[in-house]
Subunit: 401 residues, 4 copies
């Protein structure tokens, strides 16, 4: 992979190549990847050479922080992807282990063993997904080769204002130059900037579920930006795989509670996006709730409509705005979005309801927090950055029940 500047055009060419070749070879490649133990026929050698050739035609992907839930979700989504192959996976505390020992549901994947990030060799990597904890990411991203495309799933590059970062995260921003370059990756809203970005700050799960419906409505002046009340409900995987008493089965099952009331770190990210859309400072009321589901997120958003606007106006505007989008879907009127109907998928279902209080409307949006709220949108962004059709590897049917 030559120089960074020429990457996009190359991507497109490669994408085409791959596309035309796919029919003949792709299924074989996949098969051999997944079932290499079966490859014992006389034709093995020639097939392996073919694979090797093909391998070099796929983009080589690194997953930094592969032992967490967003990391394993990236791996799941890439398993069937025709244009990517994972060549590097890091996990400091699990270095030396196979991914199957850390995530037994990935036992059938043929993947390199985990290495510590300090031992990672980026020579064979075209792009990385950064799934590291907030706070440690800035230093690591700063040290990456400059030709790498990067999608960062942490919060470390989401806030344009480094002062705001320091305020909410309690430490100075460690990569202020890079911050200027970072593009906020809410795909449907910032597609052109993402396409030409090198470093994408992947949005948080709450901000994704909230901004997708609100930004178009704010831009169209259909809702007031004061008194936006957001009541969000999240599954537990958003809290990660770290061992915490508060996230034990026994502490979560059969109950619900609010947390981080008014102080959740996704607040500045939400307000940044809405403020930009409004061209004025927006302050929201945001209360997240933790509830017994592994995946899923609903935001119930209570808004005051602009003078003269009706819920029908809001509905029609959003429906039209997302008409050509695969992943953001306005349901038919009166149909209520359920988190369980997007489980495991990259979809965001939205609907709008009239409120009993005149001039108010209720907006409901649901996503899978690990897919559209994290790894799915990250892949959607990398597809764009690499010049691959945006939906590649993402059009799967939700898993229900």
């Amino acid at each position: 992979m030559a120089s960074l500047s020429s990457l996009n055009s190359i991507c497109i060419d490669r994408s085409c190549c791959v596309k035309y070749r796919d029919g003949v070879k792709n299924s074989m490649v996949k098969k051999l990847y997944v079932r290499s133990s079966l490859a014992k026929s006389a034709t093995q050698n020639s097939q392996f050479e073919e694979i090797k050739a093909q391998k070099s035609e796929k983009f080589r992907i690194g997953v930094l922080g592969a032992s967490g839930y967003t990391g394993s979700e990236i791996i799941r989504l890439l398993a069937g992807h025709p244009n990517y192959q994972i060549t590097l996976m890091t996990a400091d505390r699990k270095a030396g282990q196979s991914i199957g020992s850390v995530f037994p549901h990935l036992v059938k994947q043929e993947l390199p063993d985990l290495v510590a990030v300090k031992d990672a060799d980026f020579a064979n990597v075209d792009a990385v997904f950064c799934c590291l904890p907030h706070g440690t990411t800035q230093e690591i991203v700063k040290g990456l080769p400059s030709n790498l495309k990067i999608v960062d799933l942490s919060a470390d590059f989401r806030l344009h204002d480094v002062g705001e970062y320091e305020e909410w995260y309690g430490q100075p921003h460690g990569a202020q130059e890079l911050q200027k370059e970072a593009v906020y990756g809410l795909t449907e809203i910032s597609r052109p900037e993402i396409q030409s970005a090198r470093l994408v700050a992947n949005p948080g799960c709450y901000p994704t579920s909230i901004q997708l419906p609100l930004i178009p409505l704010i831009k169209a002046n259909l809702i007031e930006v004061k008194n936006i009340i957001i009541d969000s409900k999240s599954g537990v995987s958003g809290a990660g795989r770290g061992a915490k008493e508060a996230n034990l089965y026994t502490e979560i099952a059969e109950g619900i509670h609010s947390y981080g009331v008014t102080r959740h770190r996704h607040v500045p990210e939400i307000e940044q996006g809405l403020s930009k859309a409004a061209n004025s400072k927006v302050t929201v009321s945001f209360t997240p709730h933790l509830m017994p589901m592994s995946r899923g997120m609903q935001s119930t958003i209570y808004v005051e409509m602009a003078s003269g606007a009706s819920t029908e106006d809001l509905y029609q505007h959003l429906r039209q705005f997302y008409e050509n989008e695969e992943f953001v879907v306005l349901l038919n009127k009166n149909e209520v979005p359920h988190t369980r109907h997007v489980r495991g998928s990259n979809y965001c279902l939205i609907n709008i309801f009239p409120d009993r209080i005149p001039r108010r409307a209720i907006i409901i949006s649901v996503i899978d927090n690990l897919v559209k709220g994290a790894s799915g949108q990250a892949l959607q962004n990398l597809n764009l950055m690499m010049g691959i059709p945006e939906t590649t590897g993402l059009v799967s049917v939700p898993l229900f029940p």
Copy 2:
């Protein structure tokens, strides 16, 4: 039990009697009730006579609709109650069965078999809990002997305005004379009226969780009554034990969804209570959500504070208002109420948080929908009506985890 008019004074006398006798005999009674199969000793006959004597000193209770969750919860709560004994239980479709065959967790309770309501003999009953479906209750209550004390857990007598009942329930009110007599049983708010009531309309679960924090604040003019936004989350037992596809495990587990958006039948009940407190018509935004827990309910309430009021004012007012109450508890500042911390108990935990939006506050209240939201509050009300200490049979520790 002589005439209705003299019931209260008698109750009080009896209550005293029972109280003094309790120490000596009550544990024996209980033991014999629960373990009658053990009663084989030579002293059996004399003991039974003693029991018989004692029995006649306990109020005799009927449970109409004993095969649903609120009915079985009444039975659970009465199991250890020193002043009541259940002498009648009805369940039309399960008539002839034992309660242990319908609810195996009650297998150790010595109780009469279920009968159809049409075959019920009210001669041996002092008071009834009505746990029947909405709509059928009015006719049945109308037919009850006039000396019975009645706590009705359905919605049939909650709305003072029979026109409003017809509007929301799609049928004319079937007992309009009785409606005038019915007292709305939000215990901590209407204690005096409940004490002298014959027919109490037990509040709905959502209205209980919402009115307990809001009514005192409205009465004290600490919050604006416009733009009250209520986002409630409920466990599934509130939907009853009826076999519905929508409430199957597979349809509920691992997900959340809103339902009855702006059209839930608890809306008029909530607005009736708040309007009365405000002395003006109040219209609220109310969105309930169904989530995977069997018991529990949280209402997250977003309010605009009155001019000059602070969250501290709201907190102190509520704390003071409920200072002497056993069951309504203002948590210490910053402590977040969890539904799982009231599971199986009659407690309502409340706290108040400042909002990011100036002049707004966030109120969180949690209850067990089957206890304080139904059968527990019903028992609390009957205790009052019978002149028994209000908390009798209700001070149990929540079950966690």
Copy 3:
């Protein structure tokens, strides 16, 4: 599609065609199917013609009983399948509705509306999945055109002995001639027969999880066939989508219970398979348990080893037996299969452990009851019957967490 007798060879040819064409056109087809609303470019018309051409090259599939969980799972699995398109879906009680209104997670699928089975037109169908209730299937299958390939997911054709069917199902077998033709579709065990079958009786979920490990061990005389003790645990989706009190969330959450002890209808199916492998009548102890998970099944099987055999022998034999199989995986030693690690996938994970009691071994096998235990194995079978690579459409990564 000419005559039934020539179907297999045609299938193979078609399969090849499709395979070679896939690279160029398949992703486009898919895209247009799923996102037809986007198809507004100038090239639309020519593309549609292309699709039309391609459509006719795909096998046309009917799903009988599309409103249940196995039906919707078939639809999910076929959504990305390169060789099949669904042209018919029946659901008697939901006739006239769209699949998205019955299963909102399928809202993005472009599919025909549901029709009553009596109104179904089989002229445009090459193969059907029969997802109808036990007992009604025999009549319906009897009435299907004889050129259709059929995979029946009910129990109606699983028992070779029609007398046994009558004994366990309480009614005479309604299609005894067809029964003789039916092939029992435990894919890895009966692949050749399935390849040439017209009617496949898809195995039950319990029998699949039990026979996959036991049949090879019995055939190799490594275990005794007396005293096989099977303790199985199932998710609730196996009970279907019918509205039953026993399957309500409130009745299932946070608990476990045995059911159908020694009398579960999967017993004769299990014993039939094991007896055939043993060449002698085998009677097993089989106790299923219902537990709070939507998908998943574990069978813990306690066996006595044959004289001279060790757990190592059992392990090595199974490992070797399934070495070339994609979907049946012997884990590394000491690794414990978890149901959650196969969720949403067609995999069966197996491992073998020594017992404390000498000469005994413990076999654990896990599947997703809706995939390998139903719709996934059904698709695996149809792939075989149609001459398509067996794993097509089935190699997806389990969804965890």
Copy 4:
């Protein structure tokens, strides 16, 4: 409390006192304890003196390790107990905190703050529940004043053979003298020894659910002791409140898995009990499973009946054996025990089913692992040790749903 030797007779006397006084004063005491903030009337002082007097009449209880689930369950069970008051609670890592901050569901309990065990003052304690982790308990118990009655909920004193302890726990037994004195507290089996014990080793949850049905059957020679196969399923609270990745909600929900196959530390405890009953060394097959429920445990036990015995014999023997017991209940024939029907209670439900395999039977037993499997049985034992009626504080109705 004078000397240890006279404790039992004293206990009985006190018990009587308390019993006779209870009726008059106990409810008041309770009320004042729980609602002391309300005690503002003029009569306050005199009441407090009365309480003080009464307090000294209750046994003073210490809970060592009050920040875990068994500790909090002890506190829950003691909350309404007429004969005990908690005067000491330890929790090393939470020393200085209130119990309400560690377990918010206990916020209404008036209890002393937590102290480190090294700072505990045992002068005001008559008996302790030891809820400390395995391995650390022996040293601590050794250091307790010799006049204290002790119920130890850890595994540290359960194995009579200290060599076996070392084998399974990997460290030498640290209190071998005390071990000789310790009585194994399976209440219904060893009541007389428990009554006169100073140190009771409270049984593990699995061993309780298994030994209650098996010991009487073995003693009566109704079952063979070879080839006893035990398949147990447990809720997650048995794993404690420690923060472990494996017990996170996301790792437990919607799945099941075996663990500790043949190597679970409860094995020697089970075999010790069964061997004693059989008067010969018994080796069992024991496979525990972890599943998504907070409380509850089922053991499904597969046994070979003794020559000439029938399932009816087994059933009748157990029914008769437990006829006079409050907490061990043989269900009616064909009724299947469910864990959810004992939730929060001290009951053990048992039933026996014929197996398909001739001469075999299936025994199912369910308990709440935190109650009869831990803190409930511990209280039952202490009641016995203190001469209080055994069921005091334990006869509560299970919480369902």
